[in-house]
């Protein structure tokens, strides 16, 4: 049984009829759908165990705290983190990147450089601009090769003693390119720079092992990996996290407070001020359980096959351009494409009439769109429940598009 046959019935939303057709949901890179177990875990939590965490000395408070911290342990094992202290709950990838950029930014001085890449999501560009602003810090970007990969020779040239931060996506949200995290991180370490990895498009799709990647920070979201919205993970190597000053204050992140100063709490709570997303942590735990039951290696294999199929069938349609590495190169679960003579929003709107949901626009990656020479593209993206038949349906619908407007 293929993975989609195995999982399909677990996702109630996939039975939706959209514009008279059964929903074909190909926008999982923007946000995936949730299996029943995740929805039920959150309902169950609210129905039976909700209270605030950590300082509620009563039964419900203890249950909520236990669940919240269990979720942390589950994440730790899922990503191969050395300890639970390295797992910080955030509101999502964007929040995690802002947290790191804000905190690291305060350590930068005039003349320092931040190195990003030409394929970043705006979430891994704009926070660095904010961190660099008014500090005399320069942002540089690693360019791309014609086959849509990072230019590693250029990386060597751009990496200098001035480089203090290297920030890049594990998997591009448009091109699907896998970036060589280990290699990039190892070179950055030699150069004395901290590495920050945007794992939003990798964590839902491939097995992760923080102890092997060699980066300092790794950030991802729950809602792209079958979990709820509103929660994400910032993993930081212990020494790297300890070197960061918290930038957001409040309850929970302190040990003691006086009127004019405070002493920070231990890791990881130092970076979790205020009431955290508790039900969301419970939901994320259920999502991880679900993915682990499937096996991340199976998930990766399934989605790699879908991506290869999509690149081949879409690329074979006259007038369709597929972006990113060629079909024989490993790519993430996204395939961006454009249809000659049609604006990507019109492509998405017309596909929606057939019940097919794809993303269209600049995908929050405008510098990359300029590299592609377009204002936007359409993008199909996949998850555990996506079937090869759905990719075929997409291809048939795309082939018929140009006669429709």
């Amino acid at each position: 049984m293929t993975l989609d046959e195995q999982t399909r019935g677990d996702f109630p939303i996939l039975d939706r009829i959209v514009n008279g057709r059964r929903l074909v949901y190909l926008d999982s890179a923007a946000s995936s759908q949730r299996p029943r177990t995740v929805i039920e875990a959150m309902s169950q939590y609210y129905a039976t165990s909700h209270a605030n965490v950590h300082r509620s000395i009563h039964t419900l408070g203890e249950e909520a705290t236990a669940l919240y911290e269990q979720a942390r342990d589950r994440v730790q094992r899922f990503i191969g983190a050395a300890s639970r202290e390295e797992v910080v709950f955030t509101r999502g990838t964007t929040d995690g990147l802002n947290l790191v950029a804000d905190a690291l930014g305060r350590t930068l001085r005039a003349g320092d450089e931040i190195l990003i890449t030409d394929m970043e999501h705006h979430s891994n560009i704009v926070p660095w601009q904010m961190a660099a602003r008014d500090r005399g810090v320069t942002i540089r970007a690693i360019p791309l090769t014609p086959d849509a990969r990072l230019d590693l020779d250029a990386y060597e040239r751009l990496l200098t003693p001035r480089t203090k931060v290297v920030a890049f996506a594990h998997v591009s949200n448009v091109l699907g390119t896998f970036n060589p995290v280990q290699r990039l991180a190892a070179r950055a370490r030699q150069a004395g720079a901290v590495t920050v990895v945007d794992g939003a498009q990798a964590a839902p799709h491939v097995p992760l092992d923080m102890s092997a990647l060699g980066c300092d920070f790794y950030v991802f979201s729950s809602h792209k990996m079958l979990g709820p919205t509103g929660i994400g993970i910032l993993w930081g190597r212990r020494q790297a996290l300890e070197a960061l000053e918290p930038t957001r204050g409040g309850g929970e992140m302190i040990k003691e407070v006086w009127i004019d100063h405070a002493r920070w709490n231990d890791l990881p709570w130092r970076f979790e001020p205020g009431t955290p997303p508790i039900a969301e942590a419970v939901g994320l735990m259920a999502a991880i359980e679900y993915l682990e039951k499937l096996g991340m290696a199976h998930v990766a294999e399934h989605e790699r096959a879908l991506a290869r199929q999509a690149v081949e069938v879409l690329g074979a349609i006259p007038g369709v351009t597929v972006y990113g590495p060629p079909a024989n190169v490993e790519r993430g679960a996204v395939v961006a494409f454009s249809v000659e003579g049609l604006h990507p929003h019109d492509v998405a709107a017309l596909l929606d009439q057939e019940g097919i949901a794809v993303r269209a626009g600049h995908h929050c990656a405008q510098p990359l769109m300029r590299w592609c020479g377009v204002v936007g593209t359409a993008r199909a993206s996949f998850s555990v429940y996506t079937s090869p038949e759905e990719v075929s349906l997409l291809a048939h619908a795309v082939a018929a598009l140009r006669t429709r407007l």
Partner: protein
């Protein structure tokens, strides 16, 4: 084309998108304005020429979807020949009335972008017109008369 697509993109939108009547750029000394739709990165550029207190010509260019292009095309047609005061009152509803399509909330920005760019271009044009000459007082905001 399927019936569903016809509702989404009515005949006016399809016709305007396929054969826009006002696509292009006016030669200098036209006034231009442009802006982008942050949602999709679409860019619309309008050029506009005034003559004797009226909008003489409007043209548009840009990378834009069918709805946005149709909106710009319709707006240009509605504006040409109107007095500047009258043209300044053109709004989204005027364009929507011509488009006659089921514009979803997520696509409304595609309609409004050319309208906003037109307003900027018109006010720029009026300002630059007034600068060298006198006797063309700008209409006071709020003193609008209903359109016929």
């Amino acid at each position: 084309m399927s019936p569903a697509a016809r509702e989404l993109y009515g005949d006016v939108i399809r016709e305007r998108w396929r054969r826009p009547r006002f696509r292009g750029e006016l030669p200098p000394p036209a006034t231009t304005a442009e802006d982008v739709n942050p949602l999709c990165g679409d860019r619309v550029r309008l050029s506009l020429r005034l003559r004797e207190g009226a909008v003489e010509a409007v043209r548009f260019t840009g990378d834009s979807c069918a709805i946005c292009s149709a909106s710009a095309d319709v707006l240009a047609e509605l504006a040409e020949g109107r007095s500047t005061a009258d043209a300044a009152r053109l709004g989204v509803d005027d364009v929507l009335a011509v488009l006659q399509s089921d514009i979803r909330p997520t696509r409304m920005r595609c309609v409004t972008l050319p309208v906003a760019v037109f307003a900027t271009a018109l006010s720029n044009a009026e300002r630059s017109h007034r600068a060298p000459e006198t006797g063309h007082p700008r209409p006071e905001p709020g003193t609008r008369t209903p359109r016929q």
